[in-house]
């Protein structure tokens, strides 16, 4: 199933940092079907912006039928979404993609920048020993949402918060250990995590990103290279929107 497309009502919108917003949508069909690490497609009302915007599900609440999205304003679509107010409507499709595969192993959750949001729901679901490592450019966000779920460690580029440097600097500095990594963030960060996981002989599940058109696996816009021939595409390509966005770091090449 590729999720449902529906018109959702905005429950609330809140600004978390300079350009970071938190949007809560009333979308019961999506909330009840969601898993940590899945995403939704948001549609612009402006016909000039035809393509859906993929945004990770930060949290979902099956009781209240809500889905929370946390996003950074970077262009036309996200700018439009940031102006939505309680009661407004927006078209949304989801849940999309595979989500994380939860394992009962000592976990390190790593979120870099706008890759942090999916860690919120994941951290709530993982019922095991876990460390949460977050990388920020400068301003922090979502700390209050993550701290109840586990020990939080921070790295920032300017060193204003936590360790100066990136998430791996924080892992080394605080001597954080685990048997599995769950990560979402910019590609260079994911690349470094893959190397780290291989060097330490541990599993890493990483959430990848690419430009999307259909969001459901039909158009082949959003592929990444895979180590083995993919059963669906019959070439060394996997569809991030359908087979991902979460992959075992060792099965993809980037």
């Amino acid at each position: 199933m590729s999720g449902v497309k529906m018109t959702a009502k905005v429950r609330s919108q809140e600004k978390l940092a300079s350009d970071i917003y938190s949007l809560v949508l009333h979308a019961p069909e999506i909330a009840t079907a969601s898993k940590p690490g899945q995403f939704v497609s948001l549609y612009s009302k402006n016909g000039a912006n035809l393509l859906p915007r993929p945004i990770s599900i930060c949290e979902f609440d099956t009781e209240n039928g809500t889905v929370r999205l946390v996003y950074r304003v970077v262009g036309k679509g996200t700018d439009e979404f940031s102006k939505l107010k309680e009661g407004d409507k927006i078209d949304v499709m989801g849940p999309l993609g595979n989500g994380f595969t939860l394992k009962d192993k000592k976990a390190i959750l790593i979120g870099g920048g706008i890759g942090i949001p999916p860690m919120v729901e994941l951290a709530k679901w993982l019922d095991c020993e876990k460390s949460i490592v977050l990388g920020f450019r400068d301003e922090t966000f979502l700390l209050d949402d993550l701290e109840p779920s586990g020990e939080v460690y921070i790295a920032s580029e300017d060193g204003k918060h936590g360790v100066q440097g990136n998430v791996l600097d924080a892992i080394r500095e605080y001597e954080i250990e685990g048997d599995i990594i769950y990560a979402c963030g910019p590609t260079p960060m994911l690349r470094a995590i893959k190397e780290y996981a291989i060097a330490n002989g541990i599993e890493a599940q990483i959430s990848m990103e690419e430009k999307m058109a259909c969001g459901i696996g039909a158009c082949l816009a959003c592929v990444c290279k895979s180590k083995d021939v993919d059963h669906h595409t019959n070439v060394n390509n996997k569809r991030i929107c359908k087979d991902g966005p979460v992959f075992d770091a060792q099965e993809v090449e980037f």
Binding site: L50, L51, E210, A213, I216, C219, L220
Partner: protein, 300 residues
């Protein structure tokens, strides 16, 4: 009320199909659309062997449309016949197979492989570079187009639809070449070659540098070309390029198309095809049109 149309002797329950490459083989959109309700499902371009396609980014949004350089990634004809055709049959969908290749031999191989399959039409994508002729697309040279049409027609068991590229000076010259080669029908338009530059990164928006522009931004060009071709050849046409709603679909039919394909609009609304069919019915009711065939090419 009659919505059924006929292309080269093949009957379709209504004039609405999907544009190749925007709908996969229907499996994913099957969650949103009852595939048996479409006039036909036109599948993603398939070659004799698997193609890995282009590096990413493969697409970029453009104003009122998009640009793609997917590079015709496809699983190859063997997997297609084993998996995708049976799936579509199971869904009771009428099938138009879009075929791509890098040489005459590639195309012919695919068409021969499909001879015994339950396929309504073969749509031949001639916007692919002809490797032997230094990479110029088959569809950009009238001689090459006539030749590939002849070669495919000689082996095809199903009627062939030559899909024209709009990246030419005179589309009617290409239409006539395909007609001379023995095409049973024509479809148009494929995407218009474009370019987008990311000014912040000082790089091309798609890795391939250029990509094919589609979506409502190209619609007026597509309607013009359908009209020109309708008046230049006797063949039935499948029109496409930026169709977003039933009004757009009717516009293409009035310009001369017997069927229409909906492409990029599926990305904006996965249910759009069925909404277009419903809209057409409403339009016919309102205007007292008994048979959709009445409007084909009605604007002269």
């Amino acid at each position: 009320m009659n919505l059924s149309v006929n292309i080269a002797g093949v009957e379709f329950k209504n004039p609405v199909t999907v544009a190749s490459g925007t709908f996969g083989s229907g499996a994913e959109y099957g969650d949103f659309v009852d595939l048996s309700k479409l006039g036909a499902v036109t599948t993603k371009g398939v070659a004799n062997i698997p193609w890995a396609g282009n590096p990413t980014p493969r697409i970029a949004e453009t104003y009122g449309g998009m640009m793609n350089a997917v590079g015709l990634q496809n699983p190859g004809i063997d997997v297609f016949c084993k998996r995708d055709i049976p799936f579509l049959q199971q869904q009771n969908a009428s099938i138009i197979v879009n075929v791509c290749g890098k040489s005459e031999k590639d195309y012919v191989e695919v068409v021969e492989r499909l001879a015994d399959e339950d396929v309504a039409l073969l749509e031949i994508n001639v916007s692919c570079p002809n490797v032997k002729e230094g990479g110029i697309a088959f569809g950009q040279d009238p001689k090459a187009l006539e030749q590939i049409t002849k070669a495919v027609k000689a082996k095809a068991k199903q009627p062939i639809v030559m899909k024209l590229s709009p990246n030419v000076t005179d589309i009617t010259e290409m239409a006539r070449a395909a007609e001379a080669g023995g095409a049973d029908a024509l479809s148009l338009i494929n995407t218009l070659t474009g370019m987008k530059i990311d000014i912040h990164r000082r790089s091309f928006a798609v890795a391939n540098k250029t990509g094919g522009v589609s979506g409502p931004a190209i619609k007026p060009i597509a309607v013009r070309m359908v009209y020109q071709v309708a008046n230049a050849v006797k063949l039935p046409l499948i029109g496409m390029g930026g169709i977003m709603n039933y009004e757009d679909a009717i516009e293409f039919m009035m310009a001369g198309a017997t069927m229409v394909s909906v492409g990029t609009a599926n990305f904006h609304n996965p249910c759009v095809t069925l909404e277009i069919i419903e809209g057409m019915k409403k339009f016919m009711e309102e205007k007292g049109i008994e048979d959709i065939n009445e409007i084909i090419g009605c604007v002269k």
